[in-house]
């Protein structure tokens, strides 16, 4: 069964009814076990499980300690281009938004890469908007070629590719893929992705699997929480992770909980996702997928990020600029969204140390 079929199985599933039937006894018995199935996972995402958030946190902390120890990997994103042909209601890069568009020249990529390297980073995440015309795979390959000189790990967060294209990028030095489905509910997906190639739900859904087939080292997935009921979205994210883990066991998996942020544009309707909801999602992920890492981005407030660390966070971004050329250039392209944690690498590292954790800058190299 492919993952799309798996998602379709839940088309007529009554989530609210299920959540309504999750009793205290059920949750307590799940928390006694070491391993859990899909149903257990969904139960932990229920409103009733909120009462057990401390018990879940203690369990998640122990699991994370066993598998990842007291370490948090730090990385920073680098925006290559904000040219985009999509019309996504929640994104600042929306083709209809009148923003400054910019694409880094290869010289600027080198300058920006060098600036980031000198800050101390060894893991970098490169991003582009979706425009095969402005940001073709060949351009991304050229950028990777330059950045390989500086970074031990290069992750991409770009438009979904064909398997052979992932293979080409992996050959050039890319080892990780970040690709958020944004929203797993197909109807909502179609509503918010009004036009452009991104409106193809299935093509995006299957992209992590194509990268896994191309033998990528690690994959980061997530739903943009706030576009639909977060409990259902977190559930689909978890079972997507499980699907990848089962079928591609050599892939290192990370889950992320991005929450929708203010941006340039017109999208008004956002469902509320509280801090407590984010914590519950992270804990349920950790209890369901022990070996998956958890990434928490600068979309979240500094204090909140720091408090989340012992619950199983394994990866954090720092000194983030969501602007094209934001690390070195004076002539910047406009940002994708506002961030909430503006701390420098130095400050983030100190906060991690203060929590009794080891901020690490390198834990991977393609050899």
């Amino acid at each position: 069964m492919n993952f799309y079929q798996k998602v379709q199985e839940f088309d007529n599933f009554d989530f609210d009814k299920f959540f309504g039937n999750v009793t205290n006894e059920r949750i307590e018995s799940i928390l006694m076990e070491d391993r859990m199935n899909e149903e257990d996972f969904l139960s932990l995402l229920s409103p009733n499980s909120e009462k057990y958030i401390e018990e879940m946190a203690q369990k998640a902390h122990n699991i994370s300690l066993r598998h990842f120890g007291r370490t948090v990997l730090l990385y920073t994103p680098m925006y290559l281009s904000n040219f985009c042909v999509n019309k996504c209601l929640y994104c600042g890069y929306n083709i209809e938004n009148k923003i400054r568009r910019k694409k880094l020249t290869l010289e600027e990529v080198e300058e920006e890469g060098k600036a980031i390297y000198e800050m101390g980073y060894r893991h970098i995440l490169i991003l582009t908007g979706e425009s095969r015309k402005h940001n073709p795979v060949s351009y991304i390959k050229d950028c990777v070629g330059i950045l390989k000189k500086y970074f031990s790990s290069i992750a991409i967060e770009i438009y979904p590719l064909e398997e052979y294209e992932y293979r080409e990028l992996i050959c050039c030095g890319v080892d990780s893929l970040t690709l958020y489905q944004e929203v797993y509910n197909e109807e909502v997906y179609k509503k918010v992705h009004v036009a452009g190639p991104k409106s193809n739900y299935r093509y995006r859904l299957d992209a992590p699997e194509r990268a896994a087939k191309a033998k990528i080292h690690s994959i980061s997935i997530g739903a943009l929480l706030g576009l639909e009921d977060w409990r259902k979205e977190a559930f689909f994210t978890g079972i997507h992770g499980k699907y990848i883990e089962k079928n591609y066991p050599d892939v290192e998996l990370t889950l992320s909980t991005p929450r929708i942020r203010p941006h340039a544009g017109s999208f008004e309707y956002v469902r509320e996702v509280t801090d407590k909801n984010i914590v519950q999602a992270i804990l349920a992920y950790k209890l369901f997928l022990h070996r998956a890492g958890i990434n928490i981005t600068t979309r979240e407030r500094a204090e909140f990020r720091d408090n989340l660390i012992p619950s199983g966070v394994t990866k954090m971004s720092a000194s983030v600029s969501t602007e094209v050329g934001g690390h070195s250039n004076k002539e910047k392209g406009e940002e994708q969204f506002k961030i909430d944690d503006n701390r420098s690498l130095y400050e983030v590292r100190n906060s991690i140390k203060f929590k009794g954790y080891n901020p690490i800058l390198k834990d991977w190299e393609s050899i």
């Binding site: 120890g69 007291r70 101390g120 883990e245 050599d250 080891n358 800058l361 991977w364 050899i367």
Partner: protein, 254 residues
């Protein structure tokens, strides 16, 4: 004399330690000291030679034997590349082969490990393969040049103890190179068990790195390994189903 010799080197400590998962790099030298370890394993992929402050190697006492490992390798080919690079960057010629293509349970791939052992032993490395405790595979590893074998007690990081006890006992009886129990050792009593059984050494990482006080735990493991070894040498008395009185009633018949 009770000596442990691996790759021609005589070791006085039978406790090997790992370097991952610690809350800071600064604590590592203190754990090395308190545990009296002599062999320290490091994932080469995590070593940052370009940054002295971050480079884990600068926190390891020079008297220790560095045991670089191929963590992150999914195939023999990758493991061989990592081992060669380790030697080039000055990590010596000991190598722990770790080939894992299953990220969920982190179980090693014996078949690929045998392949890599053969190539690297031929290139003069002191090869210590991390493996699933299978007798035939252990024999194959020794045949192609392994200097020791490192069977797992339980999956990495699981702290579950010596779950593969019976398999490891067989290796101890049948395999002529040192047996180093690696992975699964969650507490000093697990280390004692392994050593009492006759393992030649143990490798501990998670249990030390994630302890509330890793320095004190280092000392505890040092004593445990020592106690277990002494118990093994002095031969633990046989187990009996019934109790045996120290002053038997029929003693006069002897």
């Amino acid at each position: 004399m009770d000596k442990l010799i691996i790759g021609g080197t005589e070791l006085y400590s039978r406790l090997f330690i790992g370097t991952g998962k610690y809350s800071s790099n600064e604590i590592l030298p203190k754990v090395i000291k308190s545990s009296k370890t002599q062999v320290v394993t490091v994932a080469l992929r995590r070593v940052d030679l370009s940054n002295k402050e971050e480079n884990i190697l600068s926190f390891i006492d020079e008297d220790c034997i560095l045991l670089p490992n191929t963590s992150g390798a999914r195939t023999a080919e990758e493991a061989v590349r990592i081992a060669r690079l380790a030697r080039i960057v000055g990590c010596g010629n000991w190598i722990k082969i770790e080939i894992i293509s299953d990220n969920k349970y982190l179980l090693p791939d014996n078949k690929e490990t045998i392949k890599a052992t053969k190539i690297l032993a031929n290139e003069g490395f002191v090869v210590l393969p991390y493996m699933n405790p299978d007798l035939m595979d252990s024999k194959r590893m020794v045949e192609v040049g392994a200097a020791a074998v490192m069977p797992l007690g339980a999956p990495i990081g699981s702290n579950r103890g010596i779950r593969t006890e019976e398999m490891i006992r067989i290796l101890i009886d049948e395999i002529d190179v040192p047996i180093i129990v690696d992975a699964g050792i969650g507490k000093p009593s697990d280390a004692i068990l392994a050593m009492e059984m006759g393992a030649d050494a143990v490798l501990v990482n998670t249990a030390l790195a994630t302890a509330g006080d890793p320095i004190l735990m280092g000392e505890a493991f040092c004593q445990a390994v020592d106690a277990g070894r002494k118990a093994y040498i002095s031969k633990v008395g046989p187990k009996r189903i019934n109790g045996e009185a120290s002053s038997p009633l029929t003693g006069f018949l002897r």
